[in-house]
């Protein structure tokens, strides 16, 4: 079936067709549908800082009350997907008293390279705040009621994503860490992952999440999510991507006990304090879900996030060889790693990476939808290495 679709001006009929063809979690369906409905609308135009300050003021007034002052607002760089503004809030903090709190506004552009839900991000961070170090989250404007686009307000977290001396690519990818730092960070990296996977999500408010039924539903939701993204965004189709999607559907792993999955657990997404090499905050929970822990295990081992040590050994996330990582994780979590499930999620993760870098990256830059289309365009270049990784993984697993 070949239909000439204008993906830049999607019809209501096509959007509905995609929703029916690729069922997934309700909140993911909502944000994907919302962006398609808005796609033919205007691109992203630079926003004056004052407009964001006004939006933040309105949000805090609605959620907290009248007595506060926003001080020292300024733009923050970093990350390929969201706009960020730092500021200081002079306020009466509940349970603390008068305080000047450093905060960060994290807001979506018109379309993001990773289209996700601010409500899910907000709920997930609140849920795990006593389990692993995360930045405090204060308020969420999940519908863009107060700000131009949906947004979150975080507390400022101390630390750096890479040592000032380290070489690396944009977004913290390809970072090479010195050996001494690796040996201090790696155990924390693994321990925190084990804690996330052991967290009892049933007692948390996670209304924006669906819990997969035992069996293959967790895997099926993933394939549906990312094949829908590829279908919605790609300009040039790729037989390899179609082969991969079919392969994924044929070999979906089963899951008995779902857990919280961070889904972007890697170097570049945690902060550490340079004076004591302590991981101070885990960032970027936007892709998090209730799913299969193998998704995280597989994600960290992507070649895109790794680097080579001084002896030429490939290190997972630039920290630790894969076999050592797996062994330490099993010890810390008490879970057994199923190599078949890890392999499936490696394929799944590679597929999703290609879908977002090559498919979404193209579409949003083509339509001028972000505050940094030039970075999104630059990132498209990694997708071919990832697609070859995807091909290689399927070949090995076939």
């Amino acid at each position: 079936m070949f239909i000439d679709i204008d993906k830049n001006q999607p019809s209501a009929k096509w959007i509905e067709h995609l929703r029916q063809r690729y069922p997934t979690e309700h909140e993911i369906d909502r944000v994907l549908t919302r962006r398609l409905h808005r796609r033919a609308g205007p691109g992203y135009s630079p926003l004056p800082l004052e407009k964001l300050v006004e939006g933040v003021r309105a949000l805090i007034r609605a959620r907290h009350g009248e007595h506060f002052e926003i001080l020292q607002p300024r733009w923050l760089s970093g990350g390929a997907s969201k706009l960020q503004m730092a500021f200081v809030l002079d306020w009466h903090r509940p349970g603390v008293g008068h305080e000047q709190t450093r905060m960060v506004l994290r807001m979506e552009p018109a379309e993001s390279i990773v289209e996700t839900s601010r409500l899910r991000e907000f709920q997930l961070i609140l849920a795990v705040q006593n389990t692993v170090p995360v930045p405090p989250v204060f308020w969420c404007d999940d519908q863009g009621e107060f700000l131009p686009y949906p947004a979150l307000i975080y507390g400022f977290a101390e630390g750096v994503t890479k040592p000032s001396s380290a070489a690396g690519n944009v977004s913290g990818l390809g970072t090479r860490l010195p050996e001494e730092l690796r040996t201090q960070l790696a155990p924390q990296f693994i321990e925190h992952l084990a804690r996330v996977h052991s967290f009892d999500y049933t007692k948390a408010d996670l209304s924006a999440f669906d819990v997969p039924k035992p069996g293959t539903q967790a895997a099926e939701w993933m394939v549906n999510w990312w094949e829908r993204v590829w279908e919605e965004d790609c300009e040039e189709d790729a037989p390899m991507m179609r082969l991969a999607a079919a392969w994924l559907r044929r070999k979906m792993p089963t899951l008995d006990k779902p857990c919280i999955v961070h889904a972007d657990y890697r170097v570049g997404n945690f902060l550490f304090t340079e004076d004591d090499s302590r991981i101070s905050a885990w960032l970027d929970w936007e892709l998090g879900r209730i799913g299969d822990p193998h998704q995280d295990i597989a994600w960290t081992t992507s070649p895109a996030f790794g680097s080579y040590d001084e002896r030429g050994r490939f290190l997972v996330c630039g920290l630790i060889p894969e076999a050592e990582f797996n062994e330490a994780y099993e010890r810390a979590s008490g879970r057994r790693i199923d190599p078949h499930a890890v392999h499936w999620y490696k394929v799944m993760n590679a597929y999703s990476m290609v879908a977002l870098t090559l498919g979404t990256g193209y579409r949003i830059a083509r339509n001028g939808k972000t505050h940094q289309d030039v970075l999104v365009t630059w990132l498209m270049g990694i997708s071919y290495m990832l697609m070859d990784d995807l091909r290689d993984l399927i070949e090995k697993g076939a």
């Binding site: 390809g174 179609r242 082969l243 895109a304 830059a365 940094q372 070859d388 091909r391």
Partner: protein, 184 residues
């Protein structure tokens, strides 16, 4: 290859207009002027690129017309022999090239995108049906073909420095086949 010049130029121009130019010191006239010239040339490039090949082939055709008419015009009153020979030789060469310049690059791109669409649809249909006897054969075809193309895609983008082991990839010049009908 989806990371093409058109999308690169478009995103560079947006970055220049939205972020870089507003940050350039207004009192630095040289920097202001050169930033605008960079944008002007990029905009010109974006407009010219889709038509560049047609522009050149069109010019070649008209130059061949002029050269042939000149060649005829001077037969009754000959010019010096070396100049006449050089003219005849370039006419012959030019006509050969002109005869082979049959497809616009935009048509090539359109054709390859159409083939990507149709082959992808076939792959989906075959590979989602486990009962098909040809599933494995189709998978092998796609895997082999993708390997060849992805080698070229990755080599084409080596300058971005994504590759952890760039030496393992052959240079793009060694991977690209000569154009069909190219002079040997």
């Amino acid at each position: 290859m989806q990371l093409r010049a058109d999308i690169q130029i478009k995103s560079i121009l947006k970055a220049m207009a939205d972020v870089v130019l507003p940050a350039v010191d207004p009192s630095n006239q040289l920097a202001q002027e050169q930033a605008r010239l960079c944008m002007g040339l990029l905009d010109l490039m974006a407009r010219q690129l889709p038509l560049q090949y047609r522009f050149d082939v069109d010019e070649l055709g008209r130059l061949l017309g002029l050269a042939n008419e000149l060649h005829t015009a001077v037969t009754k009153n000959p010019i010096d022999e070396s100049t006449a020979q050089a003219l005849a030789k370039t006419i012959a060469q030019g006509q050969g090239v002109y005869a082979r310049a049959q497809a616009d690059p935009a048509e090539v791109l359109e054709a390859l995108r159409a083939l990507r669409g149709t082959t992808s649809a076939v792959v989906t249909q075959v590979c989602t049906d486990e009962k098909r006897a040809d599933l494995s054969a189709v998978e092998q075809l796609v895997m082999a073909s993708s390997h060849e193309q992805l080698q070229r895609d990755r080599s084409w983008l080596l300058a971005q420095r994504w590759e952890p082991n760039p030496e393992a990839l052959p240079a793009i010049e060694t991977l690209l086949a000569p154009l069909p009908g190219a002079a040997s």
